[in-house]
């Protein structure tokens, strides 16, 4: 649990030179003290883990658990320093990419859409539901990550296969698309619910704008230009009186 707690600080000294290197070192301070000959932490171990390191902050627990296991083996005379360094450097990229897709690309937008839907339907509860759902899942990632990272050690990639995050990402993509569709009528309803014709018009306008922006995004039109065009279109439509409110 100490490793999980310390992994919360992985981004605290984030910089462009060694990224999360200092934060990773911080998570290993208790281990440095254990392997030290005297009171002061092991400086060699510290120097090795202050090197450049970058991965998804929620996936770091798995690598941390694995490193703890390998460092303990090293302290008892098994394995080599290269084993530990190769383990870290080979997994941080893969875990980073997977974590970014799972958390930033999948979980956060999905729960964001749910929270906005709840904000429309029931108001105040939305931020709370978002926080509980999000942290429930990432807390599992963090705790199970350290535990299984330690249990699997160098075979950590096997554990990753058992939890099959790729399949979960695929399912979340489907769910996210469903939620976007489900949110559109509710969003259109926010403007003037008492006029059904106006509601249908707004819904059609929203769908059309999303389609055009989707096309623009695929062609690489910068966000600033998209926003400027949207502002212009909104002004023109409002001047016609159809969408004036």
């Amino acid at each position: 649990m100490q490793a999980v707690g310390r992994s919360l600080f992985i981004q605290s000294a984030w910089n462009y030179e060694n990224f999360q290197g200092v934060g990773f070192g911080y998570a290993l301070v208790p281990l440095m003290k254990e392997t030290a000959s005297q009171d002061a932490p092991d400086p060699d171990l510290a120097a090795r883990h202050l090197k450049s390191f970058n991965t998804n902050p929620y996936m770091v627990g798995m690598i941390l658990g694995g490193v703890l296991r390998l460092e303990e083996r090293l302290a008892s005379g098994q394995g080599s320093v290269e084993d530990v360094e190769n383990f870290k450097s080979s997994l941080m990229g893969a875990f980073g990419a997977l974590g970014d897709s799972f958390v930033w690309g999948g979980l956060r937008p999905l729960l964001g859409l749910l929270a906005v839907m709840l904000a429309v339907l029931s108001g105040a509860v939305a931020p709370l539901v978002f926080l509980v759902c999000y942290n429930g899942i990432v807390l599992w990632l963090r705790i199970a990550g350290v535990r299984n990272g330690y249990a699997y050690g160098a075979e950590l990639i096997q554990y990753l296969k058992t939890i099959n995050l790729q399949r979960k990402i695929y399912r979340m993509n489907g769910l996210t698309l469903f939620m976007i569709g489900a949110l559109l009528p509710l969003w259109a309803l926010q403007v003037r619910p008492e006029v059904p014709v106006f509601f249908a018009g707004l819904l059609a306008l929203l769908v059309m704008v999303i389609y055009l922006l989707w096309k623009a995004e695929r062609k690489g039109v910068p966000m600033l230009l998209q926003a400027a065009a949207l502002l212009l279109v909104a002004q023109l439509l409002a001047q016609t009186g159809w969408f004036s409110f």
Binding site: Y26, L113, L177, G181, P185, L186, A238
Partner: protein, 256 residues
Amino acid sequence: MSFLDVLQVSLLAGLIGVDRLAVGQFMISQPIVAAPIIGWVMGDFHTGLLVGAVLELFWLQGLPVGGYVPKDATLAAILTTALALGASPVRGVPDVAWITWVFLWVGLLMSPAAALDRWVRQKNAFLIDVARSDGNIGRGITRAVWMGVGVFYLYYFCVTLPVLWLSAGALKSTYGWLSPRLLPGLRLFFFLLPAMGMASLLTRKAHPRGRLFAVAGAVVSVVVFLGFGLDGTGPAVALLMAAALAVVVEERLRAV
């Protein structure tokens, strides 16, 4: 906007910013959470929730992949909510056109803020030396980590305080110069802002039945929420659960 309000929001902004940049990433810094918190502190939770909902959808696509740092949705949510409520030209619930005017100003600040964010992260490299320079390296690393937390706290505090203090009056004056004919367009723009985030997210979501799921979502939503008039947390969560089941069933059927 009184200096006490500015100070209060800036102190809170530091804490919210630390969640985004330094400790935990519990997502208190997401717009849907941060904006209502600021709204609550400023005395209008629901306007905060409205700003949070729109910015949450607008920023659906902001992914901090690898070393890339996206534009700061947290800062935008804090500044927009605080200025919309604290500098509002009317008493009570602010007009959506005014919130949009504030958002446009805050949007212009996002590029300089991103440059400042990058500068802070470059300068943060001194923390590596702080970690190494102590004779007891464990103590050095701990000190570097806490200094990093302090740096990120100060970054948010030092950006929020002058922006709120200096731009509140100017925003109110310039809004007063706007022709009333432009206000409906600003309101419509605010309503359409989420379309940008959704469109951007759609370009990144590859799913063989994506269109079917989106259409199904819209139809089910119209039937459940408009047809049957249901609302509240229960039906929304039930809808998500049913959709999750449908996604799994579809996947199994495709596998067969």
